[in-house]
Subunit: 214 residues, 2 copies
């Protein structure tokens, strides 16, 4: 039942292990096409051509271009939720500056392991229809809620400035983290770890934290 | 001569005052189409239809769709340079925290007065060819250089953390400022001025400034 409903959610979906591998290739090809041309301009023919199949064969895997957008957006947000859930127990029990610093670090170092086309998960989510939009938004809200709870905890502990608007701070946090892929290219002495340390300084200092660096 | 070369830069361009007004309408319509569909997917016919003229008549004003992208990107960056240049003399003579706070405020409160399609100036700049790309990039580099100089000044003065990588901090500053339009919608008690104050806290605190708030 669960499997059937998952298939229904994204269209017909792949049937069997070999097809699963091919399906992944198709999703990746779609991601690249969407990222380069925009979701609306991307053509099913070009996605099919990228994996060396005919447009007609692609419809064995999907019913519409939107199936592919949903798959990408949903996977991207599932990865984000995975990062949230990866908080180690001793960190989860720590104070907010420690938890926020750990979250910024594990989110930032994950970025280079994301396929570059995951940016479309952010940009083109508005093209998803009804239920699919809701499915992705549920994950997105849960991720934001986690970031928000860390800032609220820090204010309650007296570590962060109580004048800060928690909503503005949370949105800025995710804008900064996810905006990274738009401009940051690691080079020589500057890797994602270094960027993560700058982000930790920016947000802990910006939220008014004055204690030792976690 | 200057006028001729400006016209050459963007294509044939408008000829006369009435046409200038119509040309502005066309640029605005193009901005909306680009923002909604992406530069590559946007069609000249739809831009013409938005201002109630035929595709053929549009070619009286421009030679190609790229003329419109250049106009939008170049105007957007010219506005940014204008904000840089609007630094008041007493601010220009002040310390870096004061100058950076003033810059963040005047940049942020300008955002709601920008046409929403200016985001394409950022996103689609890569589709501009050779000389036009260079023309826009020159303005962009000058804007970034100004932000960078404020952070360098603050480090030299001992107000900002000397461990900060100036390039990372500058890029993050502009990412945050210009990313605003992607998510911030003013409502009730939270206006752009309030957002500006949060950004001032974020960057002064994040850069390690510990003095009185400018």
């Amino acid at each position: 039942m669960a499997h059937d409903s998952a298939r229904a959610e994204r269209g017909r979906g792949p049937k069997g292990a070999l097809n699963q591998a091919r399906y992944s290739e198709i999703v990746e090809a779609a991601g690249i096409e969407f990222a380069e041309k925009g979701y609306q301009a991307a053509r099913i023919e070009d996605i099919a051509a990228r994996v060396g199949i005919l447009k007609g064969s692609l419809y064995y895997y999907i019913e519409s271009k939107e199936d592919l957008l949903f798959e990408i957006a949903d996977r991207g947000h599932a990865r984000g939720l995975g990062r949230v859930a990866a908080e180690e127990p001793e960190v989860a029990a720590a104070d907010a500056p420690t938890r926020l610093a750990a979250f910024i670090r594990r989110w930032t170092v994950m970025l280079p392991r994301n396929p570059p086309y995951l940016t479309v998960a952010e940009r083109d989510i508005r093209f998803l229809s009804g239920e699919r939009y809701e499915t992705v938004m549920e994950k997105r809200v849960a991720i934001h809620q986690y970031g928000r709870s860390l800032i609220e905890q820090g204010i309650a502990e007296g570590h962060f400035d109580p004048e800060v608007d928690v909503g503005l701070a949370t949105n800025t946090l995710f804008e900064v983290l996810n905006g990274t892929t738009r401009w940051f290219r690691p080079r020589g002495r500057l890797q994602h770890q270094d960027l993560a340390e700058w982000y930790v300084s920016l947000f802990l200092g910006g939220l008014g934290y004055e204690g030792p660096r976690p």
